[in-house]
C-alpha cells in the first residue's frame, strides 16, 4: 500500500477517534453516562476495526492510538493525561488481540465468533487501558505509583469491562458486515478529504482548548 495513503489513514481514523473522545465524550460525561465504557465499546472499537477492515495493515492501530491520545491531551475537560495514556494503550492492545487474525477475517465466519471477538476486544481493550493508565499516569506525572491502590481497585476495573464488552459484541459483527461494501476512494478525492476531515477534528479540539 502507498505509504502516504496509509499515514493519512492512520491520521484520519486517529483524529476521528480523538475527536469522539474529546467532543462526544464530554456530552456523555455531562449527561452522567458511563463515558469511558461507551467510548471504548462503541467509538474506539469502531474506528480500530474499520481501519483494519479497509487498510489491512499491521501497526496501524498503534499509530491511531498515538494520534488520538495526542489529540486527547488538548481536551480542556476531564483527565487529559490519564485518558491520553489509556487511548494509546487501547490502540496497542487492540493490535495485539487481533495480531493472529487474518486481514480478511476468514476465521470469523459465524456470528458467534464475531460477537465473541467483539466481547474479547471490548473487555480487554477497556481493562488494559484502565490498568496501564493507573500505572503509567502516576509515574509520568511524578505523583508516585502505589501497587496496593491498583490491587484494591482491580474489581472495579474488571467490572467496568462488562459494558464495553457487550457493546463491542454487537459492534464487531455489524462492522464485519460492512466489509462487503466497496468503499474504495480514488486518490484525487481521498487525499483532500482525509486531510480536510483530520484538520477539522484538530481545529475544533485545539480551538476549544485555546478558548477554554
Amino acid at each position: 500500500m502507498n505509504k502516504t495513503r496509509l499515514i493519512l489513514g492512520i491520521f484520519i481514523f486517529g483524529s476521528l477517534w480523538g475527536f469522539s473522545e474529546c467532543v462526544i465524550g464530554n456530552f456523555f460525561s455531562d449527561a452522567g453516562l458511563p463515558t469511558a465504557e461507551l467510548m471504548v465499546g462503541f467509538f474506539a472499537i469502531t474506528f480500530l476495526l474499520l481501519s483494519r477492515i479497509y487498510f489491512h495493515q499491521p501497526g496501524m492501530q498503534i499509530g491511531m492510538g498515538l494520534v488520538a491520545g495526542t489529540l486527547r491531551l488538548f481536551n480542556p475537560m476531564g483527565c487529559h493525561l490519564c485518558s491520553a495514556v489509556a487511548i494509546v494503550a487501547e490502540g496497542a492492545i487492540f493490535e495485539l488481540i487481533w495480531y493472529k487474525f487474518s486481514f480478511d477475517f476468514r476465521e470469523l465466519k459465524t456470528l458467534t465468533m464475531q460477537a465473541s471477538m467483539g466481547v474479547i476486544s471490548g473487555y480487554l481493550v477497556f481493562i488494559s487501558g484502565y490498568i496501564i493508565t493507573q500505572v503509567l499516569t502516576p509515574i509520568i506525572a511524578g505523583t508516585g505509583f502505589f501497587i496496593e491502590n491498583l490491587i484494591f481497585i482491580m474489581p472495579n476495573i474488571l467490572a467496568g469491562g462488562v459494558v464495553p464488552a457487550l457493546i463491542a459484541g454487537f459492534v464487531v459483527p455489524t462492522l464485519l458486515l460492512a466489509r462487503k461494501l466497496d468503499l474504495t476512494i480514488k486518490d484525487r478525492i481521498y487525499y483532500p478529504t482525509t486531510i480536510g476531515i483530520s484538520a477539522l477534528c484538530w481545529l475544533i479540539v485545539v480551538g476549544n482548548w485555546l478558548l477554554a
Binding site: P76, M77, G78, C79, H80, L81, C82, S102, R106, E107, T110, T112, M113, A115, S116, M117, V119, I120, Y123, L124, T133, Q134, T137, P138, A141, T143, G144, F146, E148, N149, F152, I153, P155, N156, L158, A159, G160, G161, V162, A165, L166, G169
Partner: protein, 141 residues
C-alpha cells in the same frame, strides 16, 4: 492458516469471551456487595460528618484545570485533627465504591475536600480526585 487452527479458534474464542463476561459480572457483584454506604468520613480511624469537618477546617478555594473548587483545606485539617507528623505521612483516600488513591503530604497539602465529599488537587491528574470519600487513612512512614 491451517484449517485445524481455525477450528481450534472456533472453540476457544467463545469460551474466552464467556469467561471474561463471567469475570466481569462477578466483579460487578463483588463491587456492589462491598460498596460502603455511609454519610461520615473516617479520618485516621475517627468518624466525622461533613458538617463537623467544615466546622473544624478552614474553607479554601483552589484553581484546577476544571475551574475553581471550594472546600476545606486538607493541610490545615490534618493539623487540626492532631495527626502525628502530618508532613511525614502518606494518605490513602478511599471512595464508597472501593476506589482509592494514595498521596504524599506534598500533594495532600495543596488539596481541598468539598461538601460533596470529593477531593481536588491543583496541577495533578484527575485520577487522584477521589469522589464519595468514606475514609482518609493516615499511613505513618
Amino acid at each position: 492458516m491451517p484449517a485445524t487452527m481455525i477450528l481450534g479458534k472456533e472453540k476457544i474464542i467463545p469460551i474466552i469471551a464467556i469467561s471474561l463476561l463471567l469475570v466481569g459480572t462477578s466483579s460487578a457483584i463483588y463491587v456492589n456487595e462491598t460498596k460502603i454506604d455511609k454519610e461520615t468520613i473516617a479520618i485516621n480511624g475517627i468518624e466525622y460528618t461533613v458538617d463537623q469537618i467544615f466546622a473544624i477546617g478552614t474553607i479554601k478555594t483552589i484553581t484546577t484545570d476544571d475551574g475553581e473548587k471550594t472546600g476545606i483545606a486538607l493541610d490545615e485539617l490534618m493539623y487540626k485533627l492532631n495527626i502525628n507528623c502530618p508532613d511525614c505521612s502518606s494518605y490513602t483516600i478511599k471512595g464508597s465504591d472501593n476506589y482509592q488513591q494514595t498521596v504524599d503530604w506534598d500533594i495532600l497539602k495543596t488539596g481541598i475536600l468539598t461538601d460533596y465529599r470529593k477531593v481536588f488537587f491543583p496541577d495533578t491528574a484527575h485520577y487522584l480526585w477521589v469522589k464519595n470519600i468514606v475514609e482518609i487513612e493516615v499511613n505513618n512512614k
